[in-house]
């Protein structure tokens, strides 16, 4: 066994220097393509915007996944189910006659408390003695539990969820943009920006980043790491709740116990494509997946609705084969 073969088999060592500019260049190229295409064709513009709206939803849920992954290296399979639960809570509050926006805020608070409680009750006891895989299995158990509970409490019938945005179309240069799409993009981007500001500018955010990167060192300087994990789950559940509230009015999704299953898959893809540790990566990848799916569906004729998901994953696989640590991931050299 020669040394050359050994270095060949180390998969994550840096061989090609992706010095900063390649990924931004590709993304900038993509943006120019979208803008030029949108000016050329009204259909293209419409598809781009509705793709961005779906992408915004994938992005919020993907950032929620990244939040938990960064702290514990656990992929939370229950993220979508938690979002479904809170969306049903919102529906119930609306049924009881609350107006929409107070319900929205109240739901986010409930989601936060719910996420933090779930971490405390279901995840922490598992984490204490197990490893990452054990916690992942527990999160799958949580997915089965919460989805089952939603079906049990609210019965597994499809319901109608009202939209926060009144039905309205803006006509820009012959293209009709629906308020639903624009509002979805706005709210999802705004929530991610607020979260980013929280991590960047507050002391609590700094403590959470410290707890995620160096838990032991953070504990030594007085950060209560375990409480911050609960807080992280709460924040992730809040983001998920936003995604759920935005997606449920969509007639192709609707309010049902399994409504987030498909969305979780794309969010998962976005999180991985973005590099798993990077919120910005997750947002960019989420938007990209939304747009690519939307354009593939309307312009590439052999991509039937059934083949959309496989096609998206083949594209993703190609990106990952070229850059296994995701678009914005750090390339790490593993120690022996």
């Amino acid at each position: 066994m020669a040394v050359s073969q050994l270095t060949r088999t180390l998969p994550t060592t840096v061989r090609i220097k992706w010095t900063g500019w390649v990924v931004p260049a590709i993304l900038a190229g993509g943006c120019i393509f979208l803008v030029v295409g949108s000016i050329q064709s009204a259909l293209f513009a419409q598809q781009t915007v509705s793709g961005l709206a779906n992408g915004g939803i994938y992005a919020s849920l993907a950032v929620a996944l990244v939040l938990i992954y960064r702290a514990t290296e656990v992929i939370n399979f229950a993220q979508g189910a938690l979002a479904t639960f809170t969306t049903f809570v919102a529906w119930q509050l609306l049924q009881w006659g609350l107006p929409y926006w107070p319900t929205f805020v109240l739901t986010l608070l409930i989601a936060f408390a719910f996420g933090a409680t779930v971490e405390l009750v279901a995840i922490r006891p598992v984490e204490r003695r197990g490893n990452v895989l054990t916690v992942v299995i527990a999160s799958i158990g949580l997915l089965i539990l919460v989805e089952g509970a939603v079906g049990w409490i609210w019965k597994p019938t499809v319901r109608f969820m009202p939209s926060p945005f009144p039905l309205h179309f803006w006509n820009v240069g012959g293209v009709a943009f629906s308020s639903q799409d624009i509002g979805t993009i706005g709210v999802s981007i705004a929530s991610v920006v607020v979260l980013w500001a929280f991590f960047r500018f507050t002391k609590l955010g700094l403590a959470m980043r410290a707890a995620a990167v160096r838990p032991h060192a953070a504990r030594l300087v007085g950060v209560r790491v375990s409480w911050l994990l609960s807080l992280g789950w709460g924040l992730a559940a809040t983001l998920g709740a936003i995604a759920g509230l935005l997606v449920a009015p969509n007639p192709s999704v609707q309010l049902s116990p399994s409504m987030m299953d498909g969305i979780l898959i794309y969010a998962f893809a976005a999180a991985v494509l973005g590099g798993l540790e990077s919120s910005i990566g997750a947002v960019v990848a989420g938007l990209a997946i939304g747009v690519v799916l939307s354009l593939l569906g309307s312009y590439v004729s052999w991509v039937t609705p059934q083949l959309q998901l496989p096609a998206a994953f083949v594209l993703m696989l190609i990106v990952l084969l070229v850059k296994p640590s995701g678009l914005f991931g750090r390339t790490t050299v593993r120690k022996v």
């Binding site: 066994m1 073969q5 050994l6 088999t9 180390l10 998969p11 994550t12 992954y69 290296e73 992929i75 399979f77 279901a122 006891p125 598992v126 204490r128 003695r129 197990g130 490893n131 895989l133 054990t134 916690v135 299995i137 527990a138 799958i140 158990g141 949580l142 997915l143 089965i144 539990l145 919460v146 989805e147 089952g148 509970a149 079906g151 049990w152 019965k155 597994p156 299953d261 898959i265 998962f268 893809a269 991985v272 798993l276 039937t304 059934q306 083949l307 998901l309 496989p310 994953f313 993703m316 696989l317 990952l320 084969l321 296994p324 640590s325 995701g326 022996v336």
Partner: protein, 321 residues
């Protein structure tokens, strides 16, 4: 160690006799359920080879079951094959599919590999839906009906053959090489273990096992359509493997019984509405993970260590993870 080999051989013999005698004391419905336990046994055994022994996580074994199931369905439905004769073909097709997934999987690890295998699990049923000329699309294909006894016998005969194959494969040189890859890739490569060959081969063999499981599964339910091999199936296989204990062949039976029989047992128990079953099952999964994070095999290991008073001696010669 000689006595422990004898004890283990005795335990296997007892388990084999119980499994062989059990169907004669059961109703035909329960035999079908028993056959399904055998299906999960084979699939979890397969997953254990790649995840438990080689350390590569796969959430996509439902896809390989789908490939095996469709191989059997297409050959019997369209080409008039005898269904048992399709099993070796199914294993071969499964092996090939596993190698096809295993080669790109060499580039990934951890969560990235989980996503890639997850993607395969989601894509395969969609592809089956799209190419309905072969697969019958959403409608699916019908297969001949079999009695519960026939299904039970076939499933557990296959399970026994695969168990022996897995044991032969893992007990000696190959098994040591795979565990070396799992524990430290660099150390394994330094000792002359070709990572690419062993990882890809592990994926192939693992997928072949899952494919045979899928073939038996479609025989049990006597039809096939894309929804049969949904995401839940892949997740249940993973749950079974972890509950049984990764890196142990003995826990597989416990894992298979857990994922197949527990939900059914909950459904048929009195005083429980059927809608509460997933709630209870999910809660039990979480509690089991909190109490026995290394699975049932670890429980056996603890008992064995206590009874032989050799707590340092690892009874299975495995590094528990």
């Amino acid at each position: 160690m000689r006595t422990s080999v004898a004890v283990r051989a005795g335990v296997i013999a007892v388990a084999a006799i119980v499994i062989a005698v059990l169907p004669f004391a059961m109703s035909d419905y329960n035999r079908t359920q028993g056959a399904n336990v055998g299906v999960f046994f084979m699939a979890i055994l397969g997953l254990n080879i790649v995840t438990g022994y080689t350390g590569q996580i796969s959430i996509g074994h439902g896809a390989f079951m789908a490939i095996g199931g469709y191989t059997t369905a297409i050959l019997t439905h369209g080409h008039g094959w005898n269904d048992v004769a399709t099993l070796p073909i199914s294993a071969l097709v499964g092996f090939a599919a596993g190698v096809v997934v295993g080669v790109p999987a060499l580039r990934f690890r951890g969560a990235y590999l989980a996503l890639v295998t997850f993607a395969v699990a989601l894509a395969v049923p969609q592809i089956a839906k799209n190419y309905s000329g072969f697969t019958g699309g959403t409608e699916g294909l019908q297969l001949p009906q079999h009695t519960g006894l026939w299904l039970y016998g076939t499933a557990w005969t296959c399970a026994a053959i695969l168990f022996v194959l897995a044991w032969l494969l893992l007990r000696a040189r190959t098994g040591r090489a795979l565990r070396a890859v799992r524990d430290s890739e660099v150390a394994a490569a330094s000792s002359g273990v070709s990572l690419a060959v062993y990882k890809t081969a592990a994926f192939g063999v693992s997928a072949a096992f899952a494919a045979v499981a899928g073939s038996i599964y479609v025989l049990v339910i006597s039809f096939v359509n894309p929804d049969v091999f949904g995401l839940t199936l892949s997740l249940y296989i993973l749950i079974g493997a972890v509950v049984g204990g990764l890196g142990s062949l003995w826990g597989v039976l416990v894992g298979a019984a857990f994922v197949q029989l527990l939900p059914i047992g909950l459904t048929s128990s009195h005083g429980l509405s059927s809608q509460s079953v997933p709630v209870i099952f999910g809660a039990i999964v979480i509690v089991v993970m909190a109490l026995v994070p290394r699975g049932a095999a670890d429980l056996l290991r603890i008992v064995a260590a206590l009874s032989s008073r050799k707590s340092q001696d690892n009874p299975l010669g495995l590094e528990g993870r």
